[in-house]
Amino acid sequence: MTSLDLDLPAASPPPRRALRLRGPLLGLVLPLLLAAGWQVAVDAGWAGGRLLPPPSRIIESLWSLAVAGELLPHVLATLARVGLGFAIGAAVGIVLGAAAGYARLFRDLVDPTLQALRAIPSLAWVPLFILWLGIFEPSKLALIAVGVVFPVYLGVSGSILAVDRKIVEVGRVFRLKGLALVRRVLLPAILPAVVLSLRSGLGLGWMFVVAAEIMGASEGLGYLLVDGQQLGKPDQILGAIVIFALLGKATDAILVLLARPTLRGQDAFGGRN
């Protein structure tokens, strides 16, 4: 067999199909193999699988939660927190970022403070938010919003500052001013960077919703994590983790999909994500 391979001229056959699998499909191979291997090992009795349950038990656990009608409320609670926290953080970040990018005075006045606040590990706010806002929804939303606001602020203000003055000049040659100049030149010029910052903001939103829900919640995927730990149900914990992964990926994909029409001038957004 090897001798046959050696006989082949260097560049003749096309690469084998399996090797040409691209992107997401290729990325699935390793986790699926590991999961299947673990499943086989547990089924065959080579491993216990009590602390690291096999895929079948994780699915079973999620399924039983789902048929009992418990899974959906948890998922919706978490989605609502991320959605609302992200919306608040993104809106504040866009407004602050736009003001800082557009007005020199505002930037000089506000940017140092925001940069200093950004340096604080966001979880350090938790005790304060709880004191101020109580242990219920408002403090959780505040934490998520704080996670989202900084990357969005940085992305928006930075992208406005980075707009190519030369291209704005072309807009002026075509006699665009004020809002028309913003709409037809500035906005499309900054959109790719803004979308990127929204995506990292959303990622942080997902990070902080876990923190917020572990702090204490009676509902949500984070609650399933804590509950699974206290009741010794690693299958439930892993199930919640899997759902986090799926939702995080899905919401990011939705964001990219919504933004796609505005991003086509970009080399970096060739649909690689």
Partner: protein, 251 residues
């Protein structure tokens, strides 16, 4: 068509870029502006385009003082400066928003055909070569049918072969509705092949050093003996202006 009266520009940092420019450009004329680098050529064009305000004097287009970019004046810069998020066709149609969609589309198609890029209409700027991008920029500037087109070293970033091709193409485009062209260049041959008249600037501050008429028929062959003679004269005038600048600096 275009009148410059005692035009001068001193930047905020005190740089005297231009001083006392007097110039009259007729409708349909092709005027080349040559001079060493830093002698105020770009400044002159930006003032005419209404992108910067003069410190002294004024620019008149059709007798009207220019205070901001004028609807009848188009600009082509050294870099193509295409909008990266718009297709080639959308870039060309950028200044045609006031037209109904069907007319706009027809105009864009016509302009792209004139610069030989009809087949690239749907492409994005990042997929174009430097020469193609600059042709799109020219089409974008010509699409609104300006009466005056300002070009700031439009071909200087291109290789020699592409540059010669685009110079000839510009000459052909001009024969269409014969806009007034003001072509800034430091390429003597470009001026000799294209211009009716060449203004030589002298640096620090930029002033008119010499004005040379070129009474050769068009189209011109860049290898023609008469064009060679003009190039020779232009080079001498340019050298003199640079020498004058150095003396001015020493004084």
């Amino acid at each position: 068509m275009l009148t410059l009266r005692n035009l001068g520009k001193t930047y905020e940092d005190g740089t005297r870029a231009l001083s006392g420019i007097e110039l009259q450009v007729e409708a349909g004329e092709i005027l080349a502006v040559v001079g060493g680098s830093g002698c105020g050529k770009s400044t002159l064009l930006r003032l005419i385009a209404g992108l910067d305000r003069p410190t002294t004097g004024q620019v008149l287009v059709d007798g009207e003082p220019v205070a901001e970019p004028h609807p009848l004046v188009g600009v082509v810069f050294q870099e193509a400066r295409l909008f990266p998020w718009l297709s080639v066709a959308e870039n060309v149609g950028f200044g045609l928003r006031h037209l109904p969609a069907s007319e706009r589309a027809a105009r864009v198609t016509a302009e792209l055909e004139r610069v030989g890029l009809a087949s690239a209409a749907g492409r994005l700027p990042r997929e174009l070569s430097g020469g193609m991008a600059q042709r799109v920029a020219i089409a974008r500037a010509l699409a609104p049918r300006p009466r005056v087109l300002l070009l700031d070293e439009p071909f200087s970033a291109l290789d020699a072969l592409t540059r010669a091709g685009l110079q000839d193409q510009l000459a052909r485009l001009w024969t269409g509705d014969r806009p007034t062209l003001v072509l800034v260049t430091h390429d003597i041959e470009e001026a000799a092949v294209l211009a009716d008249r060449v203004v030589v600037l002298r640096p620090r501050p930029g002033r008119v050093d010499a004005v040379i008429d070129i009474a050769l028929p068009r189209p011109r062959d860049r290898d023609d003996a008469a064009v060679e003679t003009v190039k020779h004269d232009l080079r001498r005038a340019l050298d003199r202006s640079l020498g004058a600048g150095r003396q001015g600096e020493a004084a």
